[in-house]
């Protein structure tokens, strides 16, 4: 059964085409990684699938809901972790989780327990009563990860999940994402880190110029093939760039 579907999704910003007829079909229980260079259209795709942006044309569906026509209802059933959003500056993480729980109708006792677990998992228990504006970027990212999973949604959209995190926490997050998927949930992550996509995703789509140009399952790829090769073959290689040589007179 499809958890996320798009059909010829198109979105432009002025003269720039962010999505050019993007078609996707992601099954429930997949950890799908949208891999692509900066500006490929990954963030726009998440924006449309979570009802934050309106496409120019095409259709989309998340857990049977149309995010274009029913943005609020769609967001009720999903978790969202955007790349550039911080928790509200003048709330402490504890208050922010109270707020998220209220907005998402999560019972107070359940929230207490989950916040406790997340604070331990991501090592920010001692920051729970610090105003969010005074947290480091890494701590803010931990708070934002927690809010995305607080209501344990069936589908979670994550833009660059490991941004600003230290290596130990990165490992814990990667492990949690895989466990979460094994419990039957669906995750859509956007990244431009090939090794992360290769390591944790059950399926990787390479997005370039607003199109899905390759679709792979890392576990099924043979030893000869790597995501990096696939990426380079489709997106372009480093060989196209030649470092300029120093000219006479340069120090």
């Amino acid at each position: 059964m499809s958890a996320i579907r798009t059909e010829k999704l198109r979105k432009t910003y002025g003269d720039v085409t962010a999505l050019a007829d993007l078609t996707l079909d992601i099954e429930a229980g997949e950890l799908f990684g949208a891999l692509g260079p900066n500006g490929a259209g990954k963030t726009t795709t998440i924006g449309i699938l979570t009802g934050q942006l309106q496409p120019d044309s095409g259709t989309a569906s998340v857990l049977g809901h149309d995010p274009v026509a029913e943005p609020v209802e769609t967001r009720r059933h999903v978790g969202i972790l955007p790349e550039q959003e911080s928790p509200p500056s003048f709330m402490t993480p504890r208050e922010y989780f109270d707020f998220v729980a209220t907005v998402r109708d999560v019972p107070a006792d359940v929230v207490e327990e989950r916040v406790e677990q997340w604070a331990q998992r991501l090592s920010f228990a001692e920051k729970l009563d610090t105003l969010s504006s005074d947290l480091s970027r890494g701590q803010q990212q931990k708070v934002m990860i927690t809010q995305a999973f607080l209501h344990e949604p069936e589908v979670v959209f994550i833009d660059e999940p490991l941004a600003n995190l230290d290596p130990i926490v990165q490992e814990r997050v990667k492990r949690y994402l895989q466990d979460y998927r094994e419990r039957g949930n669906t995750l859509f992550i956007s990244t431009h880190h090939i090794e992360v996509a290769e390591e944790i995703c059950s399926r990787v789509g390479i997005v370039y110029d607003g199109r899905l140009i390759a679709d792979r399952r890392p576990a099924e790829m043979d030893d000869e093939e790597s995501l990096l090769d696939t990426f380079v073959a489709n997106v372009g290689s480093d060989e196209e760039w030649t470092e300029p040589t120093a000219t006479a007179g340069d120090d």
């Binding site: 979570t50 009802g51 934050q52 942006l53 309106q54 943005p71 609020v72 209802e73 967001r75 009720r76 969202i80 955007p82 550039q84 959003e85 911080s86 509200p88 500056s89 003048f90 709330m91 402490t92 504890r94 208050e95 109270d98 707020f99 998220v100 209220t102 907005v103 998402r104 107070a108 009563d129 610090t130 105003l131 504006s133 005074d134 947290l135 809010q147």
Partner: protein, 475 residues
């Protein structure tokens, strides 16, 4: 100026321009200085023809320049995180000491110079030019215009450098803050004991001054700038602030706030600089201005105004500043992570407005009624007008500017639209309140019905504008 300083100066100037034009109406922002000049001209013409002393107008403009400078001066220091609340993920050159081989002190010095040039040309020059009607009527000489430009610019710089020095000292721990407190107490004491500060400010130079007086009036500017830049501790980091679990407590007290969005807004206002006191303070300024205007109207017309009607109409203007405070610390995008619509977000702002804005203006209204005395029927109708016009202003602001009411201040078209919508309602009420007192029963009934009607129009305006903003923010 060295080539690096020159380059920094040009880039900061460009950055400031782009920042303002991005925030306030794009290319329309270029017309803003012309609009300021026209607005000042109109105000100078109206005030002088209704008998206001030109000296009083000039004093007001100099005071405004000082206040503007005090506000602007904090920008270089407040830091990127505070700016982010207003501007989004913006990075400004003045914050680039950590990434460029340029010292924070050099960046601050160039930033100060950039502020001086940018605001002197774009804002203070149009204001000075706006005094042309007073020259035409013979109230001022032609020379007064460049003089006013120079002295308002100097007042602006005085404000900027006072803030620079104060913030610089506050980064020096307890000793710096203690010194700052001592200086403020000394200044307060001197003022109370009758020292005329004005003669030591650039405003004191407006009517001509001797060379020593010029030196005394202008010397504090470079002195304060040097102190601010020299004592500013570039390694200063504010201690992380903690807070108790206020959110659920406040939410329990607001039974209508099931989704918690209103409490979030109230917490933003309460925990940001100035706390809830800033709402009271801006209301207090409007109260003082209302008092002066109504008093002035009485002097000009020789008629006793209706306290209830006139204060009711003017104090309702605080709706705009309150809406500004409650929308300043977030944007619509931040709500789009949750199952919340734009309508829910605006409704939360409306409720926060009812909780914060209405009691504030009603409080000042009651103060005016008690202090000035008012006929009971006029006070009751004034109260209806106060609430009605405040709701109307809320609706007009949401309809025109959505979550960005600051755009009004710099977007000529929006400002003109807002001014027209305001005038349609306020002018008739003020004519009745200032000229037709005591107000007849028939007129009072009409005004009361009108107050309820404009309040209803305000609510309808905000509700009807929601789909427009829903589309706008998903574009």
């Amino acid at each position: 100026m060295t080539s690096l300083n020159r380059r920094l100066f040009v880039e900061m100037l460009r950055e400031e321009w782009r920042l303002h034009s991005e925030l306030f109406g794009g290319s329309r922002f270029a017309g803003f200085p012309v609009f300021v000049a026209l607005l000042t001209s109109g105000a100078v013409y109206l005030l002088t023809t209704t008998g206001t002393e030109i000296g009083a107008i000039l004093a007001g403009v100099h005071g405004l320049a000082l206040f503007f400078g005090l506000r602007t001066g904090s920008t270089g220091f407040v830091g990127q995180d505070a700016m982010r609340d207003v501007l989004g993920d913006a990075t400004m050159l003045v914050f680039s000491a950590r990434t460029l081989p340029v010292s924070q002190r050099r960046l601050l010095s160039v930033f100060l110079l950039k502020d001086a040039v940018y605001y002197a040309v774009l804002f203070l020059l149009p204001i000075a030019v706006g005094f042309t009607p007073a020259v035409a009527s013979g109230d001022l000489t032609l020379l007064a215009i460049p003089t006013a430009w120079a002295t308002t610019t100097a007042m602006f710089l005085l404000g900027v450098t006072i803030t620079f020095a104060a913030i610089g000292l506050s980064t020096r721990g307890a000793s710096g803050r203690l010194l700052l407190l001592g200086l403020a107490a000394g200044a307060g004491l001197a003022f109370v004991s009758g020292v005329d500060f004005v003669q030591f400010t650039p405003y004191g130079l407006f009517d001509g001054a001797t060379l020593p007086e010029v030196v005394v009036a202008l010397a504090p500017i470079p002195l304060l700038a040097v102190i601010g830049i020299a004592v500013y501790d570039t390694s200063y980091e504010r201690a992380a602030r903690t807070a108790g679990r206020t959110f659920p407590r406040w939410q329990a007290r607001l039974p209508f706030d099931a989704d918690g969005l209103t409490v979030k807004t109230l917490l933003d206002v309460q925990r940001s600089s100035g706390g809830l006191g800033k709402v009271l303070f801006s209301g207090g300024i409007l109260f003082a201005v209302s008092w002066l205007l109504i008093d002035l109207a009485e002097t000009i017309t020789g008629l006793e105004p209706s306290t209830g009607i006139s204060f009711g109409a003017i104090l309702a203007l605080s709706a705009f500043t309150t809406y500004n405070w409650i929308t300043m610390y977030d944007d619509v995008a931040s709500y789009q992570l949750y199952p919340v619509s734009v309508a829910d977000a605006v409704r939360a702002k409306f409720r926060a407005f009812l909780v914060l804005g209405i009691p504030t203006c009603v409080g000042y209204f009651l103060l005016a009624v008690v202090w000035q005395g008012a006929r009971l029927p006029e006070a009751v109708v004034g109260l209806v007008l106060l609430v009605g016009v405040a709701l109307y202003l809320f609706g007009v602001t949401v309809a025109l500017a959505g979550f960005d009411p600051n755009e009004f201040l710099f977007d000529t078209v929006l400002f003109a639209g807002f001014g027209a919508a305001l005038a349609v309602v306020l002018v008739p009420i003020l004519i009745v309140g200032l000229v037709l007192a005591p107000v007849s029963t028939g007129l009072l009934v009409a005004l009361g019905v009108g107050g309820v009607l404009v309040g209803g129009i305000g609510i309808a305006l905000y509700r009807r504008s929601v789909p427009k903003w829903e589309r706008h923010y998903r574009r």
